[in-house]
């Protein structure tokens, strides 16, 4: 059977991808950011997942306002890299795992999560920046990736509770798949940031730290955070953190915090990153 062995959360700031692509990783502004992911790269090289499930949001690259699915899953064999206005990032195309992805669809829909099937989709920085941070610059990504796109652009976004429960449904789906696969699930986006309006630039280190602490030992506290609290305390784009709760829901109740990294600023954003392993292996 397939099994989720660990969860990774990380911001997916586009400027981080641009810094990597333009070889600015050694510049004083960016050096601490990339340094912060060195232990993570070593960790994932050891874990060697067979598949990564990456929960992220599309930034109006594959989708537009024409169709706004709350939850969507990429079932294609390959996902090309989106051109977000300055040419596609020069990273490998993302290979999918159509069999597991369609199994997750079948299982979660019967579990009452009405997830949208996407058979043709380009992926943007929301998905590729976390891959770069964890895997660097390989010729090919080391394993297939199943993208799960969440609407966090048109408000209201799904509740933290709904996300957490979807995580649990994904876990059940994975565990009823008949191939022996070790899976790492990513929750991306966040942490506190506001990109728009006169209040842009908002950062809340205390909120972020509490969120990271609770993610390990008291996820229920994070699950209860109402939308207004995210908007007020973590900024209008900080609400992306609900995506981390899908990752958390897919793990055991008891997890070990393996690694944490937090850095302000990365462009307009507080960059947060955590690795959680199921305590019972």
């Amino acid at each position: 059977m397939a099994r989720i062995v660990a969860g990774v959360a990380t911001s997916h700031i586009p400027a981080v991808g641009a810094a990597w692509d333009n070889k600015k990783t050694a510049e004083p502004y960016w050096q601490p950011v990339f340094q912060g992911f060195e232990p993570s790269k070593e960790w994932i090289a050891k874990v060697k997942p067979d598949v990564c499930i990456v929960v992220y949001n599309d930034h109006m690259s594959a989708f537009s306002l024409e169709i706004v699915p709350t939850f969507a899953i990429g079932c294609a064999a390959e996902f090309p890299i989106a051109d977000e206005g300055w040419g596609p990032r020069k990273v490998p195309a993302v290979k999918g795992h159509p069999e597991l992805a369609s199994h997750i669809v079948a299982s979660t829909v019967l579990d009452e999560f009405d997830i949208t099937i996407v058979n043709k989709m380009e992926v943007d920085h929301g998905l590729t920046v976390p891959l770069t941070l964890m895997f660097g610059q390989p010729e090919e990504w080391p394993c297939p990736v199943i993208p799960i796109a969440v609407n966090v652009v048109v408000y209201p976004v799904p509740t933290g509770h709904r996300c957490y429960m979807l995580g649990k449904a994904i876990r059940e789906a994975v565990e009823s798949f008949d191939q022996d696969l070790r899976i790492v699930i990513f929750g991306t986006g966040g942490m506190s940031h506001q990109l728009q309006g006169p209040r842009a630039g908002l950062i809340n280190r205390e909120f972020d730290t509490r969120f990271l602490d609770n993610l390990t030992r008291d996820p229920a506290a994070n699950v209860r955070i109402p939308h207004l609290e995210y908007l007020r305390e973590a900024g209008s784009e900080g609400i992306e953190m609900v995506m981390w709760l899908i990752m958390r829901g897919a793990l055991d109740d008891d997890v070990r915090e393996r690694y944490r990294f937090y850095h302000v600023p990365a462009s307009n954003t507080a960059l947060g990153h955590i690795i959680l392993e199921n305590a019972r292996v």
């Binding site: 206005g85 506190s192 309006g197 209040r199 462009s267």
Partner: protein, 132 residues
């Protein structure tokens, strides 16, 4: 009259909700069209003529022509879309963020390096009023 919303009290923030998404649909789709180089060229050649091809309100067109980034949000624009207009102008995300906050780009960058805009004093419209 639309019902009051719980997030109306947030200062300096336009929440892109389903109402805004409806009001701003054509404004945002116009911005999205700028992802294609031939459309960018056509827009740059005659902004007004290009805008007139979209069923946007006159106020939305004026906000685009004046590059009033906050007004665009208020009229239903979404930041991920207006950022595509900024890219067409050769502006970085941080440059328009600075413009929306009334700071210069170096002032804004400095604020971020010092830890960003603190949440204290920025939670409610009443706090902004008190501080003038």
């Amino acid at each position: 009259m639309p019902l009051p919303k719980e997030y109306d009290d947030l200062p300096g923030t336009t929440v892109f909700d389903a109402d805004k998404a409806r009001e701003g649909y054509h404004l945002n789709m116009f911005c999205m069209s700028l992802m294609k180089p031939e459309n960018r060229a056509s827009f740059k050649a005659d902004e007004r003529a290009y805008l007139d091809k979209w069923p946007m309100t006159e106020a939305q067109k004026q906000a685009v022509l004046k590059r009033d980034w906050n007004e665009m949000l208020y009229l239903g624009g979404n930041i991920y879309f207006t950022a595509k207009l900024a890219a067409t102008d050769g502006l970085s995300f941080q440059q328009i963020a600075a413009m929306m906050t009334g700071k210069t780009q170096p002032e804004y960058a400095e604020m971020m390096i010092k830890g960003g805009r603190p949440v204290a004093g920025n939670r409610s419209k009443s706090e902004w009023k008190n501080n003038g």
